[in-house]
Amino acid sequence: MSDLDLSQVLQEIDDEVRARRASGDFPPGMERDLDLVFARFAPVSVNGDDLEGLISAADRTSFIDPVLPTESRLPAVSILKRVERKLLGWAFRHLTQQVTAFGGVVVQALRLLGRRVERLEEVSAGADPALLAGVGGNAPAALDDVVVAHLAGCSGRVLVAEAGDGALLRRLSDLDVYGVESRATLVESAALAGLDVRDDAVLDHLRLVEEGALAGMVLVGIVDRAPVGAQVALVAHAARVLGGGSRLAVVATSPESWGRANPIEADLSPGRPLHPETWVHLLGQHGFVDVSVTERDGAYVVAATR
């Protein structure tokens, strides 16, 4: 057996992927487009959490057909099946009516639950994101240089979540970087600018990323507006998807300046920025090391290593 260094070969493959992304051989959005094409053929529950779509699917399939198929390649068998259907038809009807009735009741219960969850969301979560269109949404940029320095040399995939208007992605273009953004207008403009931005909610995207798959991550934007539970979930996901030695940067607006800088966004958002000390605490709990805080112009960066 020869002395092949597998890790070296894998590193060279990573380098090639990065170079081809940079050269445009692997155009931004190519993988996202493939995902979208397959998603058209997959059940609704495979992609995201489309509750209404799932309930509709349950509704469609809850009717159990009592009529047995009688086709057969052999005419005699077909006749036999027809006789069987005639003899046992009443029994199948009796059974399937009960199953269909049960399915119908379950679907109605699910619809009721869905409506209750919607009402709960209306009163407990933030306003419809559409109300924030054109208001705020700009992540603090004063500390971009700190982020760029922290991530310099990351060898592997780097995620910026949320990508926003793509400014930070451009600053990190030396890296194998991509973004996630749920605001459709921003995704479109990023795609037109040739940036690799996935149209997805950050937490939904992170659930799909493989363990240890990323070499770096920037959490920005979402950390200003998300509810506390979502922010804690972000740390857990980051700990899972970042490999050993990977870098994380949390870029947020200082709580003290949040309302002043973005009053409308602050009022309509479901959450608010955490204090940097809270991020330091959470990251330490999840095993991140070398945690440092840089504060400037009403914003801060918490940098850490996995």
Partner: protein, 355 residues
């Protein structure tokens, strides 16, 4: 004193990895001087004569029961009420979440299998896993005494004569990717198609993929075939279905690389077949794949289509990498030597029952 170790198998099929394993285990137990019969909930007609219905099990003093756990089964519920001391051999149960959106009824069966696995933990004296990955799942399910013995596999059965007609028919002008496994959501053949699409667009438009194996999900198979049409790769992707042993050997011979993007494997025997047929491997390192593969293939941390395509390209076009992987595969295969693993199984069983 132990008198017998009888195996309990939910479904016993011929030419099947678990079926062959069960026969090997029976031989091992009999070699220890103990009685051993195979009791099943279901058996294919051609191997039914090797088995007995589980409800005919008499049991009694000195009888131990070895349950082969691979899916949900009424047999597992029945087993919980049995007085005999119990052993368990775990082959893995696919997480229901991978199947449920596609085939809800299979999802229910798999979920039941996982629940039963946890319920059997309390009264099980020793649980033997076919991989360390599976052992981890056993421990998470509450098993305290566990061991690892790889699946008992006679790799000499991989030495099949190739079907000459198939070898001729499978000649292709461009590089050929091969994957062997049933069309199933956990095998994630759709991710292979994404990678092939990238490969054909960037590296070689003549590349093709052969998917060998039947289907475990009509809904998933339909989606995958529709996906092929949407990608306009009808001429590049072959759904070969179940094939004979001789045809399978021809497929391995005709391919340039074995590529797997499988999401969940408890062991993954086709990796060993590929090693045996000197076919280099590129595989996404999910579940038990890194353990089975060892250093005998390119094990990818992610299965982004670009990365899978780049890795396949490297293996296909770099003779040094290719030769090294083939050599490493041959060496790795020796770790699954049947005699050695039979001894390990005998030791594990003897230690548990005190034989």
């Amino acid at each position: 004193m132990p008198r017998a170790i009888h195996q309990l198998v939910p479904s016993f099929a011929p030419r099947n990895a678990i079926g062959n394993h069960v026969l090997q285990v029976q031989d091992v137990i009999r070699g220890m001087g103990l009685d051993s019969e195979i009791y099943v909930a279901d058996a294919w007609r051609e191997v039914a004569h090797l088995t007995r219905p589980y409800r005919e099990l008499a049991g009694g003093d000195g009888t131990w029961l070895l349950y082969q756990a691979s899916t949900g089964s009424p047999l597992a519920e029945w087993l919980q009420g049995r007085p005999e001391p119990r052993l368990l051999n775990y082959h893995n149960i696919t997480p229901a979440s991978l199947f449920a959106p596609w085939e809800p009824h299979i999802g229910v069966e798999l979920a039941a299998g996982r629940r039963q696995l946890a319920e059997l933990a309390a009264g099980t004296e020793l649980a033997i896993a076919v991989s360390s990955y599976n052992e981890g799942e056993l421990r998470a399910a509450g098993y305290r005494d566990t061991a690892v013995v790889p699946i008992l596999l006679d790799t000499s059965t991989f030495d099949r004569a190739e079907d000459p007609a198939a070898v001729e028919r499978l000649q292709a002008p461009g590089p050929v990717w091969l994957f062997v496994g049933r069309l199933a959501p956990n095998k994630a053949q759709h991710d292979l198609l994404k990678a092939l699409s990238v490969y054909r667009r960037v590296y070689d438009p003549t590349a093709r993929l052969r998917l060998v194996g039947g289907s475990s999900s009509h809904a998933y198979a339909t989606a995958v075939k529709t996906f092929v049409r949407a990608l306009q790769m009808e001429d590049a992707v072959e759904f070969c279905g179940d094939v004979s042993d001789a045809e399978l050997a021809a497929h391995y011979r005709a391919a340039d690389v074995f590529v797997s993007t499988s999401e969940h494997e408890g062991f993954c025997i086709p990796l060993l077949e590929a090693m045996h047929h000197r076919l280099p491997i590129v595989a996404y390192g999910s579940s038990a794949v890194p353990e089975t593969l060892g250093s005998a293939g390119l094990c990818l941390r992610t299965k982004e289509p670009t990365r899978v395509a780049a890795a396949a390209h490297r293996v296909i076009t770099d003779p040094a990498v290719r030769a090294a992987l083939v050599a490493a595969g041959t060496a790795r295969l020796a770790d699954f030597d049947l005699d050695r693993n039979r001894r390990r199984m005998a030791d594990a069983l003897a230690g548990a029952v005190g034989a």
